[in-house]
């Protein structure tokens, strides 16, 4: 028999055996990340407190991608022969028409190719089909392909050079051995006039795995903050999300998924954030001028797994109890909130999915103010269900006009869409006119 006191002493003694010093490499990595990573923009209306618990969430992508490509570059630089111009293989499965090298004979690299690019799902060695791909080309030509959300797992280490539209790649010193040393490939790459998109087609490659993963369309990662996982300014056209995960899937514990939603934008829009819980689109002029700590005057948000936020004066980071997580349940709860003045909910169909839409402003009689909103009248409305204090959370302030849409994705999953403006009724009406065609273009996969 063990007494309580004995057990407590035993437990403490056992716990005392554990380590009490953080490894230096971890502390160094933390400080390095902080050096290169901006703090969040203050989301006074809809703070997207992202879940950063996954050590390989998009938040770390920029840092690790840069670190690891640098390491790869050092490895390649240690092997001067790997920077030689690629010679053309000659079998049918190999490069048959390699263009001549640049006039100087030196390997060159078009700077428009340098940077990070996101591609859709493709057969890359070891990459989950749920993930998109990321092509990283450093300015010395070092090239790797990684899962879109996991640049720590780098594949197909190559050296790239270009000659006009011809792109040559060659393997050398690839520690993984995805391609054999000396494997060479020749591709044609075509950047869009804006440089935000490129297509790569193959002329041939000794390495079949590289050929399978390289070919296709790639979108430049033009995000102001790589940690936001976004593309930044967009050409007019149709895009797929890269990270937001809208559906619970017990068989898939990955935090992100590629292509959960498709959207179409006209000229002048930007993808401002794409994370596991949120996708944010803003007019490009807003995205260009809003910096960390500032609130965009208007934006469109797609929010995963919404529920009603606890309706208490402290704006507690908790789900409101007793609310049925259905379209009607959420809409009824919003319409009943004493903090809000609302329109009558109306039905809407987006991408073939049923939903309801409601316009909200702060009720003139409401005197509450959520902490962190600078003392203005404000109230919690929606939050990411069951996320503790790690998910997104949204509240309305006295300056805001919002249109909220809740959609039924099926299988018990919901999505919310917010169109928010803090510049007054006329500005809101005009912004809704711009935003609704984009919202109505959404398709959920």
């Amino acid at each position: 028999m063990t007494t309580d006191r004995d057990f407590d002493r035993l437990a403490r003694a056992w716990l005392d055996l554990g380590p009490d010093e953080a490894p230096e490499r971890t502390v160094t990595a933390i400080l390095l990340a902080a050096e290169t990573m901006p703090q969040v923009r203050r989301r006074l209306r809809w703070p997207a407190w992202r879940d950063l618990s996954m050590s390989r969430s998009p938040i770390l992508i920029g840092v690790w991608a840069m670190l690891l490509v640098t390491v790869a570059a050092i490895a390649l630089l240690g092997r001067p022969e790997q920077h030689d111009a690629v010679t053309a293989p000659n079998s049918s499965s190999k490069v048959t028409d390699a263009p001549t090298a640049s006039p100087t004979g030196a390997a060159t690299l078009d700077p428009r190719l340098v940077g990070q690019w996101i591609g859709d799902r493709r057969p890359i060695l070891g990459i989950s089909l749920d993930q998109g791909a990321r092509l990283i080309v450093s300015d010395d030509g070092t090239t790797v392909i990684t899962p879109a959300n996991n640049p720590g797992d780098q594949y197909l280490l190559s050296n790239t050079s270009t000659d006009l539209e011809t792109m040559r790649v060659k393997t050398g010193g690839d520690p993984r051995g995805d391609c054999a040393n000396g494997d060479a490939g020749t591709y044609v790459w075509s950047p869009s006039p804006s440089g935000r998109l490129m297509t790569i087609s193959a002329m041939g490659d000794d390495c079949v795995a590289r050929l399978a993963s390289m070919v296709g369309t790639w979108w430049r990662v033009g995000c102001h903050q790589l940690s936001d996982g976004c593309l930044g300014d967009l050409d007019p056209g149709t895009y797929q999300s890269a990270f937001i995960k809208l559906r619970h899937d017990p068989s898939n514990q990955a935090a992100h998924t590629y292509g959960n939603v498709t959207y179409t934008v006209p000229d002048g829009w930007a993808d401002a954030s794409d994370t596991e819980g949120t996708l944010e689109l803003e007019p490009a002029d807003v995205y260009a001028t809003v910096t960390a700590g500032e609130e965009p005057p208007h934006e469109v948000m797609l929010l995963a797994h919404p529920t009603i936020a606890a309706q208490d004066a402290a704006c507690t980071h908790a789900d409101e109890r007793g609310v049925q997580r259905t379209v009607a349940g959420l809409m009824q709860a919003i319409a009943r909130m004493p903090s809000l003045t609302t329109s009558a909910p109306t039905s809407i169909s987006i991408g073939g999915l049923h939903g309801q839409m409601i316009d909200v402003t702060m009720a003139p009689s409401w005197r509450g103010s959520c902490p962190g909103t600078g003392g203005v009248r404000s109230a919690s409305v929606l939050r990411e269900a069951g996320s503790g204090d790690a998910g997104w959370s949204g509240y309305v302030t006295e300056q805001d006009h919002g249109r909220l849409i809740v959609l039924d994705l099926g299988g018990g999953d919901l999505a919310a869409i917010g169109i928010v403006d803090n510049q007054g009724q006329a500005s809101f009406d005009a912004f809704v006119g711009e935003a609704m065609p984009i919202v109505l273009s959404l398709k959920f996969n």
Binding site: T2, W14, D16, G18, A22, L31, P47
Partner: protein, 182 residues
Amino acid sequence: MRDLVERARDGDRDAFAALVALTSDRMYGVAARILRDDMLAEDALQSAFINVWRQLPTLRDPDRFEAWLRRVLVHACYAEARRRRAWATNVRVLPVDGPAAPDSMISVLDRDVLDRAFRRLRVEQRAVFVLHHHLGLPLAEIAETLGIPPGTARSRLHYATRVLRAAVEADAAPVVHERRMA
């Protein structure tokens, strides 16, 4: 610490580095004890501090920094535990030949029994147990830190204690050899 927190909240990276220096050892100790795996603990620590750096502008009360950090860290531990559940059976254990307990009251056998029993607990139960017995936090503060009702904290601690205690007692019980009476 309040001054450091306020400066870090305003984007001062030197102040943040000082905060990391002040708290990282203690936080790593908590993560390592909850997760019982050094690598997972490193990942959780890194994830938590990066999260804290990013979210510092949203911290309302600088005096609550350490409680907030603990909360973020524990949630990072939850995520690490979930992420690695598929190969949790392969995680490395803390070395049994570590420093001796202060009063030499814990045997190698006890450590092994406690290690194995502890791994059977849910990570949420482990967290409460570690915060209570290692950091010495009272249940009310644990509940506030984790954002759970005090009753939930109490029941998690009670369950964890019961499991660990039963394991120790079972291990200490004399072996009974039954004999057929007829």
